[in-house]
């Protein structure tokens, strides 16, 4: 009887540690250890989750899982689609309803209040949950439990990050959420702030004349890009209708699909322009394959509708910016100064 009581006590303690994510002690080391997140100069405060604080162990686990096909039954991992060379973006995805959606990059998401083009996700931890579905990882629950439990490293890594001693004490949903927490901890550390423009702004780096001229177009009424894509995030983290469409069918309805407000028809979350050179195709539906096409859209292809952003309807520029050929070239050159090679080469 006494042994049963002790056993029950031990089991209860383990469960409590799992539920409360209490620091774990292994060989005299306390886990997990808080991650020292550095906010780059001039950046706003990041968004963290109180129920998923950044820890060294969580970030390390998430980084490993991000590139590991152990999560899938088809050999895919996050990095199969979110390729480093493309700033962790993915060209596009065809939805079950046939809509084509370009997948935004995993870059500076820690500064975003919500996610996806229409803001359908408001908690970053929920963003990877859909990846377990048949159209992506096609994860098999039994296989996932088995593989993780029998892996030479993951039992220890999950223990250190989340205090999990036995995967089988978790439900499948709990296991997926724990994996998502680890992935998101890693994603929150994916910060880009070392582009050529950053070095120019903060460290005395140089721009070419063409890039400098493009910067003028960007940050003046000529191009008027700055109102939505201001420094340093190059996104205002708001929703706008930039004049891509004047009819809003399917995914083109944008934010309206979430809010159902007529005033949100055709509005999309402003994407960051950091690493834009690497993240083609462009716009929510990936309709443009080059930056030149994007600039030409703003130059001559804007379509009017009742929700078009007021900034897009300046007098004399109702259908576009009417830039000169050189201004368009220089604007593209400037956009390429937002490429952060250290971000995509970091190990």
């Amino acid at each position: 009887m006494r042994y049963i009581a002790i056993l029950l006590f031990v089991v209860l303690m383990i469960k409590c540690r799992q539920k409360d994510n209490i620091a774990n002690t292994d060989y005299g080391v306390d886990y997990p250890t808080p991650y020292n997140f550095q906010v780059p100069q001039g950046f706003p405060q990041p968004y963290f989750s109180s129920d998923n604080p950044l820890t060294n162990e969580g970030v390390d686990l998430g980084k490993r899982l991000y590139s590991d096909a152990i999560l899938s039954s088809n050999g895919l991992s996050c990095s199969s689609c979110h390729r480093r060379s493309k700033s962790f973006s993915s060209p596009y995805y065809i939805t079950p309803t046939g809509d084509k959606i370009s997948i935004p990059p995993h870059i500076n998401l820690v500064f975003n209040p919500d996610y996806n083009w229409n803001g359908s996700i408001t908690k970053l931890e929920l963003l990877p949950m859909g990846d377990f579905e048949p159209q992506f990882f096609n994860t098999n629950a039994d296989t996932l439990f088995y593989r993780l439990s029998h892996h030479p490293l993951y039992p220890q890594l999950f223990f250190k990050a989340f205090g999990i001693t036995n995967f089988y004490t978790l439900s499948y949903e709990e296991l997926k959420m724990t994996i998502c927490k680890a992935l998101v901890q890693y994603i929150r550390t994916m910060v880009s702030a070392n582009s050529k423009l950053d070095r120019y702004q903060l460290k005395g780096g140089a721009l070419t004349q063409e890039e400098h001229d493009g910067m003028y177009v960007f940050f003046s009424e000529r191009g008027d890009c700055f109102h939505c894509h201001g420094y340093p995030l190059f996104s205002d983290n708001l929703y706008h209708n930039n004049g891509l469409n004047n009819q809003f069918i399917g995914q083109d309805a944008g934010r309206n699909l979430i809010t159902h407000a007529a005033s949100d028809l055709g509005m999309f979350s402003t994407p960051t322009l950091r690493n834009i050179e690497l993240t083609a195709p462009y716009m929510h539906d990936g309709r443009y394959t080059t930056l030149e096409e994007v600039v030409e859209f703003y130059n001559s292809g804007v379509k009017f509708s009742r929700t078009i952003d007021p900034i897009m309807t300046k007098p004399g520029k109702e259908s576009g910016l009417q830039l000169t050929a050189y201004e368009k070239l220089s604007l593209v050159a400037f956009l390429k100064t937002l490429t952060d090679t250290s971000f995509i080469s970091a190990k």
Binding site: F219, S220, G230, P232, D236, P310
Partner: protein
């Protein structure tokens, strides 16, 4: 702080309001700074605040702001500015909150911050829907407002209630017709008109 258009409570995103020029318009965005608050008490003492406050009509959490050291007596006048004083209106000088970052005024165009972003749609004379963007910035366009509304001590015990009539940005002394003037940023003559009109947009409703 509260918002109305010709006395009707502000409702964003719907074209339901009219200005003196007869334009039917909506408001999709109304963001601004309030600064340089100065209160004169019935004793003649003047209380000045160096604080500034970001207000967004879409975000009710910005409607309330606190100035310490207010007189506990009644007041004879209330002064404030819409915008930032020259010492505050310097690029990258404000804490980089998303709101402040979104109000940045490019260095190419003089630097500092937008004092005001008032945007929306209107029905143009050709009956098409267009956008308008009334943006105000640059030190010379700071909107200085004096409200000589005496308030008894009992009336200010719960604070001072400010109301902005958004239509007044268009009405006087410069009557603005959105068909002719729907974008102001960087156009000094238009921003000067907007700044003058701004002197009339606030009232005390205690």
């Amino acid at each position: 702080m509260s918002f109305n258009v010709n006395g009707v409570p502000l409702r964003v995103d719907t074209i339901q309001f009219r200005n003196l020029s007869g334009n039917s318009f909506s408001i999709t965005r109304l963001d601004f700074y309030i600064s340089n608050i100065e209160i004169t008490s019935v004793t003649g003492a003047i209380y000045k605040s160096t604080k500034f406050f970001y207000v967004s009509a879409r975000d009710t959490s910005t409607y309330h702001f606190t100035v310490n050291g207010l007189p506990l007596t009644g007041i004879t006048s209330f002064r404030c500015c819409i915008g930032l004083s020259a010492s505050q209106n310097i690029s990258n000088s404000l804490t980089p909150t998303q709101a402040n970052l979104n109000m940045a005024w490019p260095d190419n165009m003089g630097g500092g911050y937008h004092f005001l972003k008032l945007e929306g749609h209107y029905i143009a004379s050709n009956l098409q829907v267009y956008g308008y963007a009334m943006h105000l910035g640059k030190n010379q366009n700071l909107v200085e407002i004096t409200l000589s509304t005496p308030l008894y001590e009992s009336q200010v015990s719960n604070g001072i209630k400010l109301a902005m009539d958004v239509a007044k940005w268009y009405n006087a002394p410069a009557k603005i017709d959105l068909n002719n003037t729907n974008y102001t940023m960087g156009i000094d003559s238009l921003m000067a008109k907007l700044s003058q009109n701004g002197k009339n947009v606030l009232s005390i409703t205690n």
